[in-house]
Subunit: 315 residues, 2 copies
């Protein structure tokens, strides 16, 4: 796929991946709406298969492969949700998956990938060793490398999340989604352009990992250097493909404090009784820090995932 | 209400309380089903208003009062979910509520009751001081005392939870619900008798608070003396009204270890991404400890509430 997806590409992808993903619910909370005097609609990708929106893109990417490519399977390097999603999507589609994981990845993530049938190869927790290990895997298996976001097939899959929101809700003033590598944000921007053009798209980013904010402001991609945030899904840098789409279509990126991310996460846990990971909480943190912007507005927020390590577990 | 509710009583109550409660979703988890080789249907009362099934009974009890009684409001003593539910139900119906709460009740529960507009009076954390304080409140305000479970209006309200399950699912082999004071269990038994007579009802009880198990086994009500369990909603004893219904209609009570309750709670958090309190986890703990009983069965489980204090919050 050489160009950003068209409306038709996204519609087709949605049809194709539907049997393999959940149509996740959109929840509301009367008490949270009251606090901020607004109408919030939470799209619950924490309930998605493998616990995050990543399942959409991973499934679409694998379904885009030729029969020959499918035989050799797929590969990636990841310590996070893309690894689990790719392993599960491959498993459901009956193809092998090979994941290079840093040896210090959380045990719960490693077990998830293995539980989904992924073949795990451990590497050192540096980008260079991850890439080297991945190269060796690809050489040995001829598997197709699926990048977590710098790939229009992935972006097309992630776009189906916002598409589902617009199928269910109209007259939304804002859509807020987190920005990490930009795959979800790119898909959200394109889906908004095609299915709800009057809605403004806002990116949520931790202030300690604000490379996307600075990149969009200055018009050039800054790498994410030594990011400091509890939102472990948002440590990555934008890529050429995601930067291009986001620069073009985003209303603005709003950065949020760590304290707001935590408060927002606990508020969602407490009031909505659903588990989300810190990256997901950035979207409510944006509302928390800027309530005046959203007063009496209709706002969709993407809760991107629910894969949090519960510390109590391993005691 | 002098007698246990009839089918018609429960249907009427359900109509009456519908505008004030959530029809909670029934969720399934492919991965948990695989682990136990069974089909589990989780009725999510953790998503209920005020975070627990108690809202059903409290609302029904208040709606059963006369106009004169309504003016003076309602009162109870409770450190748990009944307090919050009664305060919120009273608030929604525009009547005052007076709650005697032990001074050592968790701050999060006290704040919830106050947030719902309840008038809190603190007392010492002994049953005798709770009752004395309640008596004083009732004398002063003429409010109607609403017992958390020894009250057929409450039991009728709690019965609507299982009724909703049977409206959505048929051919269930088992319904599992936790047993504390027995209000939810009594309602579940009656709803099963009226709406799904072939389903067997199983009670889940922590082994460290097994007074209901022993009471039903021996045919007499044992008080819950010094119960030891993390399931803080299940510390209370059966009452005359709940004992009568449970003795008559339950298939069996199964006790579970603390370790199973914790494992079940973490499994639900992790796989289903929903927050439940430990009392709710007892139902899955029953399946965990007795998988052979439920192999290839269709089993409904009531997740009774989601009001857990998240320790991280107050750091």
């Amino acid at each position: 796929m050489k160009n950003p997806p068209t409306k038709n590409d996204i519609e087709l992808a949605h049809q194709n991946i539907k049997p393999y993903i959940h149509k996740t619910p959109i929840l509301t909370s009367e008490s949270i709406n009251k606090i901020f005097n607004t109408q919030l609609f939470f799209k619950c990708e924490n309930f998605q298969k493998a616990g995050a929106f990543k399942m959409r893109g991973a499934t679409n990417a694998i379904l885009s492969l030729s029969e020959d490519e499918l035989k050799n399977g797929v590969a990636t390097h990841s310590s996070g949700n893309h690894a689990g999603a790719l392993a599960l999507a491959a498993n459901k589609l009956g193809v092998p998956s090979y994941i290079a994981m840093p040896e210090n990845a959380p045990e719960v993530k490693i077990n998830a990938v293995k539980g989904y049938g992924g073949n795990v190869t451990f590497c050192k927790p540096t980008l260079s060793d991850r890439e080297k290990t991945l190269d060796e895997i690809v050489k040995k298996t001829s598997a197709t490398f699926i990048h977590p976001y710098d790939d229009y097939r992935i972006i097309t899959g992630q776009a189906t999340c916002a598409k589902e929101i617009y199928e269910e809700l109209s007259n939304l003033d804002y859509l807020i989604a987190p920005v990490g590598g930009g795959g979800l944000m790119s898909g959200s921007i394109l889906a908004t352009k095609y299915f709800s053009a009057s809605t403004k798209v806002i990116g949520a980013e931790p202030i300690g990992a604000d490379d996307a904010f600075r990149s969009i402001r200055d018009g050039e991609i800054y790498p994410s250097v030594n990011p400091q945030t509890i939102a472990d899904g948002l440590l990555t840098s934008l890529s050429k493909k995601t930067f291009g789409i986001i620069k073009e279509g985003i209303d603005r990126i709003i950065t949020v404090e760590e304290e707001s991310i935590l408060s927002a996460m606990y508020l969602i846990w407490e009031r909505m009784k659903i588990l989300i990971e810190p990256s997901s909480a950035t979207v409510l943190a944006v509302v928390m820090e800027n309530p005046e912007l959203f007063t009496n507005k209709r706002v969709a927020l993407i809760l991107s995932g629910g894969n949090i390590s519960l510390l109590v577990r391993d005691k």
